[in-house]
Amino acid sequence: MNSPRGRVTLKDIATLVGVHTSTVSRVLNPNRRTMVSDEIAERIVAVAEELGYRPNPLAYGLKTNRTGSIGVVVPDIVNPIFPETVQGIEDILIDAGYMPFLSNSEHKAERELRIVENMRDQHVDGLIVASGSPHVAILMACKEDGIPLVLIHRTWDDPEISAVSYDDSLGARLMIDHLISLGHRDIAYIAGPLDSAGGRDRYFGTKDAAQAHDIVIDERLFAFADSNTEEEGARCCRELILNGKSFSALVTAHDSLAAGCIGVLAEHGLSVPEDVSLTGYSDTLYAAMMTPSLTSISVPYYEGGAEAARLLIDRLQNPDAPVRRIRISPELIVRESTARRFAG
């Protein structure tokens, strides 16, 4: 008597109780229950519970044009900032009765496009897309379909798209100011991928902050990582040492890059912070656990995720809700890896 896939249907319940399917439907919809006699309603509810009936979101979706699911796309689940972001998104969405679908684009444009297209085919009610590199095609497609979209970790010039972003230029400046206050002037920098908004803003923010302190920019003190990974941090750190221009502080665009530097510095007899002050960015799990613990820039990723989910829910509940673009300020966290420059 069950449907082939094992799911209990309204028809199963109707057959057992001996009423029409539409009566069952009416009873199981809280808004319309009053239209059926109490006695029958009670029997229907009892049978529904006994059979373990659960509403079918596909059938519901066909009627209401809503599925209650939200697509969430992140570029890299291995990067510790994204689990925090996703926690923030999920906590708000699940509380509001939505079901997030998570997918990981691995920073690949075509893969991101394919994921978003699949999610649209699955009729998600809305999308939260976190990725450093805006792909116009995706944004345009969502707009055409009228799917509410919130961007996180990146902004886009289109004033019609809601976004949550972080003030990375400010973060970069806070770090340079901190190092200058400790007497450092020979500051090396490992940049993150420049095709991401975060990588770019931190890189230019660092350069601008250094210039504001009249530091002459020396290209030998810059290295560029292809990804925010320990391997790339190690590779860039080697490159900087090989460049031969000495530095008393090494600023990196991500904690994972900094984590990759410590071993390389040690190989060259340089200890942190005695010989080189080392800094991270993002204040991930790493920063506090490293030896020495890492001075970093704390970014409220959980809050950012939660804020993005709130913006999306606002749009879903009221399509005329104003587009909002929120920029969150980061904070400097000083730990053991930075110290006053040795004057000797």
Partner: protein
């Protein structure tokens, strides 16, 4: 449905089973070869099948080497956090007597235990060898890099997806159980007993 390592031994669900006996045996043999006999264990909530399996595997592997795990040498954590690992390490140092090494059932515990060891003015591996389990990325890059049991996580995900796709294509297909063999990765958080 496809499940990963959730006590599917007693069920008939398709999925993955991690050979924890193999993993813990490899870790205990490694520590024994370095001269450790006075060993402690930090393990997870016993009501969860993954923790229970690893606890059982560790006790069994120790016993095969003639080492009995004394109750004061087993710190059982309530969750899987780094913080729990810190507290467990402090408990062991204060209660477990003269231990030279500590096994853990996940990398977070090892990360927390090492941090606590340093906070108490000791160091790893000089004063205590500490081992992880799972092989999360961080273990390779923290100081000291952590000796751990590596699970092939990406392959596990792909394997599960494949089992699921097979079942969707042919629901009558025989239930598949894949046994996952973890491997020992020796890094610098373990050393010969001084």
């Amino acid at each position: 449905m496809v499940v990963s390592d959730r006590g599917i031994g007693e069920s008939d669900l398709p999925g993955l089973v991690i050979d924890d006996d193999h993993g813990m045996r490899a870790m205990v043999s490694h520590l024994r070869a370095l001269g450790h006999r006075e060993l402690a264990l930090i393990s997870g909530p016993r009501h969860l099948s993954t923790s229970a399996s690893r606890h059982r595997a560790a006790v069994g592997a120790l016993s095969e080497q003639g080492i009995e795990l004394l109750p004061d040498r087993n710190a059982c954590c309530a969750d899987f956090s780094i913080e729990a690992g810190r507290k467990a390490c402090r408990f062991l140092i204060e209660n477990a007597g003269n231990i030279t090494g500590t096994l853990t059932t996940n990398d977070q515990y090892a990360i927390g235990a090492i941090a606590e060891l340093y906070a108490m003015g000791r160091s790893c591996p000089k004063d205590m060898s500490i081992t992880g389990y799972n092989g999360i990325r961080h273990t390779q890059w923290l100081r000291p890099p952590i000796t751990t049991i590596e699970l092939p996580k990406r392959e596990m995900g792909m394997k599960m997806a494949k089992i699921m796709l097979d079942r969707l294509t042919d629901p009558k297909k025989e239930i598949e159980r894949a046994i996952i063999q973890p491997t020992l990765v020796v890094r610098h958080s373990t050393a010969r007993v001084f």
